[in-house]
Amino acid sequence: MSMRTLRPAAVPGTIAAPVSPAPAPAAAGAPEHAAAEDAARPVALAKALGAALRDAMAADERIVLLGEDVGRLGGVFRVTDGLQREFGEARVIDSPLSESGIVGAAIGLAMRGYRPVCEIQFDGFVYPAFDQIVTQLSRLRQRSGGALRMPVTIRIPYGGGIGAVEHHSESPEAYFAHTPGLRVLTPSTAADGYLLLRQAVACDDPVIFFEPKRRYWERGPLTPAEDPPLPMERARVTRPGSDVTLLAYGPTVRTCLDAAAAAAAEGRSVEVVDLRSLAPLDWPTMTASLRRTGRAVVVHEAPVVAGLGAEIAARLTEECFYHLEAPVGRVGGYHVPYPPARLEKEYLPDLDRVLDAVDRAFGH
């Protein structure tokens, strides 16, 4: 196998996408949000997320949305499009430009019995709210001796590949997965976007919900992949295989599926696991896969150094040492600030970098 030949992406357009902030292209003639009765019709991930919020708000009047430009504009990615018109300005709140305020106010609303869903406009702007998330939101339950619940969901569009300026392409998930008291979820498909967001909003614990922004316009059915639907803490074997396991989440799941398809053409059977939940991580699904294949590579956009891949590789090594045919590999960002748009293709893990790591897993 020629390791240095660039393989064409099996699915075109996985990197190219509108430059942010840009409206999601409206589905021609489609209703504002996919109706439940038409759940098999493919919708964009952004629409699926909007539908989840809509259905959740219709079912529970304690759910309120807060964020910058989420109301009248419908959010810079239009995820909340139409919700203020439907539910009013009291429940879909265009907040001051104040991220710490968005999360801090959500905490107070939760103390009063509400179930706030916050939108942080872009990954790189969550840091002003970092203190409220890490020192308050994640701890108030324990601080109150279990008296308080913090059913707060924080939606964060994340990841690169959209040709954006600085602070609009980052993957800060490890900070939150590292923090006790938080759940961290990230969907990779429209169906999971709907399901996981409904589960997040229904959850009595704080959930940091990372939305892979370069996948916002990828379409899929709303119908859950499983019946009954997968619990939110479970990973999914998205593509079964027998030679090597790719562990991916959010934007890199599509990359890994493309890589698996390309590898299949070369006679290699690649299993792809979509982690879905980054905190907690689904160890049984990961270890079962690794015991089958004997090889694993973790793929994420975030820098590899001290990233989620480090935790996964260490833990899999502890638990599956005698099943391993090769060290657990990691593919991800370099230890540099996320690069300017003209260089992001060099930085982001793509099909070739994934297959390169797969090849190395077979080189032992």
């Binding site: 009013g88 104040s98 801090g104 107070g108 279990g146």
Partner: protein, 442 residues
Amino acid sequence: MVRYVASDELSDPPPAEHGVRLLNPDGTPRAHPEFDALLDVEDLKSCYGAMLRARHLDDAATTLQRQGELALWIPLRGQEAAQVGSVRAAAPADFLFPSYREHAVAWERGLPPVEVMRLLRGITHGGWDPAAYNLANYALVLATQTLHAVGYALGIQLDAERARSAGPGMAAVATVAAATEGRANIGRPTIGSDPENARGAPARGHPENIVGPPIVGRPTNTVGLPNVGRPTNLGDVLDAAVVVYLGDGAMSQGDANEAFVWAASFNAPVVFFCTNNQWAISTPAARQARVPLAERAAGFGFPGVRVDGNDVVAVHAVTTWALERARAGAGPTLIEAYTYRMGPHTTSDDPTRYQPAEALDRWRALDPIDRVARALAPVCDPGWFDERLAEARATATRLRAQTLALADPPPDAFFDEVLVTETDEGRAQRAAFREYRESFQV
């Protein structure tokens, strides 16, 4: 017991400095054009008991720390009037957000004193159920609680909207629109009979005390002790309001300033109670602001009032007014209680490195408890004061015994309540921790 001091012995800061005052340091009442005293003699006696109790509990806790029974103590000495006066203005349905020094607020709210000891002994990071006392847990990260308070206040507004509108959609709600478009109040409530009272009337009398418009009051009765009078004719449109405490140092935090923006923007029913005790550990208040802190409010678009923080009557009157305003839908207020931290920042601090001794002497003469004692001296006999002292001492003795009897938490308690639903990972770690510990037992 009480040290009786003639008024000419007291070094009294000028009005521009001390703010609204209704009880002079010598214990005589004082008229104010905007604020009536709302505490009668019985109220004042009760406040005296509460403040004396707080002082004795506070001292007992310092002693416990010195003896190694507490990890840390955060004294409140000097701030008894600011705390008791403000908490007594709050209704049971109002929700209070303390910082970490408001022990008297917590105790007045019904929290057993020993609950605060559990925190400072290192048994818990908080411990009480906020809903049981309508009192949030302490917040140690400066000013974080101000945003929680605003969010809670938004929740009170949303509750009112939900009660008003039919159906879960609340499509007709105009709450936030009204506020964001600068039209004052949520759901456009009627504010009593005279909207001028609640909002527009310009400040008169003591412009140095009151920044911004709010004047609500009746002529003050200055005969004898201050008379009880309702200061407002505001009708409640909200069934509760919020008080959040923060220090002069915390006023510089981003969260405090974001909270002011949110509160103003949504006209939230929240009272920011800034205890200006002149120090943030060693940093003087002058490092935080080049204007009186109360003046900050004007820039955000709501009234700010400086009140003599060592005058329980004035603190109570101003806080009552601010809370009634909030419940009437007239929005937030900033109260700056001008007082002095009469001890170290915490038991780990050495204020002699930065605090001028003269300042302490000057403020000792303005002691908030002595002031009430002077006011009550003409109407209470020495026996009554002796009883209060005995009561305070007994409370402190009880606290000491209760603190010493506190049991350590079970070793694996830190796994408790991290999440509502414990994860498999959490369960596995707890089991491994127990197994590890048990491996040492023969």
